[in-house]
């Protein structure tokens, strides 16, 4: 199972739909995608993780890197995830305090700080 990525625009947000496995091999592809989006001026990102089967610390590192990039432009990076096994990884690393995690893309898109 490889990584699949697709992006779409919803209002002023860019939704990145991620599917498959995010690990040490595939994480660079996600990093490239996030860097490209930010370089193109997309500073409000919603990363939809509902199709993700596996996430490791390399993937977490890429998401944190993405967050740093959008914050440099006063942007935001929100996650959509309902899968317990993926949420657990955010919890044990303390990243639930760093990322706003939503239960649906609609909720993430509508959210403001």
């Amino acid at each position: 199972m490889d990584l699949s990525l697709s992006t779409r625009t919803v209002g002023d947000r860019t939704v990145v739909e991620v599917g498959g496995e995010i690990d040490v091999y595939t994480a660079p592809k996600l990093r490239e995608q996030l860097v490209e989006l930010v370089n193109d001026g997309n500073f409000h990102l919603v990363v939809d993780m509902e199709g993700v089967d596996f996430l490791d610390s390399t993937g977490l590192g890429v998401l944190v890197g993405g967050l740093k990039r959008v914050r440099a432009h006063e942007g935001s990076l929100r996650l959509v995830c309902n899968q317990e096994r993926i949420l657990k990884i955010f919890r044990i690393t303390g990243l639930t305090k760093v990322f706003p995690i939503h239960t649906s893309v609609e909720e993430a898109v509508a959210a403001t700080d």
């Binding site: 690990d23 040490v24 091999y25 596996f54 490791d56 610390s57 990884i89 044990i92 690393t93």
Partner: protein
């Protein structure tokens, strides 16, 4: 000897193979189904870390994974051959890149220690070893 041994070139694309093999052997050994996701993640973290250490140090030797079925427990050992005088002192050796790698390395270890109750991390001049152990349910014993 270990129940199953695996040696793979220190390349990121092989880490997934190690995860799949480890999970398959763990299942056979009687590790609870609910814990298999944790086994998969922990062994992936340990292998990713070993691959990173080999690549950083330019080591051509393979990464070693031993899957060991014992009475009432199942252990996984992931060994690297990256020498260090003191565990975790790589950060003091170089510039910003080394710092970032050391940070990622620590994140991997943080995930492992958050997931696995029984884990030992050792490192010396000949490399490092992460040993993780899970309890198993012997066949025929009812889960109540």
């Amino acid at each position: 000897m270990a129940t199953v041994e695996l040696r793979f070139s220190a390349l990121p694309e092989h880490v997934r193979t190690a995860r799949l093999v480890a999970a398959a052997v763990a299942r056979r050994a009687g590790v609870d189904e609910a814990v298999l996701d944790e086994v998969r993640l922990a062994v992936g973290e340990a292998c990713s870390r070993a691959v990173g250490l080999h690549q950083t140090a330019g080591i051509a030797e393979p990464v070693r994974v031993a899957l060991i079925e014992e009475e009432k427990q199942f252990s996984i050992e992931v060994g690297d051959e990256a020498p260090r005088s003191v565990p975790g002192d790589r950060a003091s050796q170089g510039g910003a890149d080394t710092d970032v790698e050391a940070e990622e390395d620590e994140m991997g270890l943080a995930v492992i220690s958050g997931l696995v109750d029984d884990v030992e991390v050792t490192a010396g001049e000949h490399g490092g070893l992460i040993r993780m152990t899970w309890p198993t349910t012997p066949p025929g014993v009812a889960l109540t």
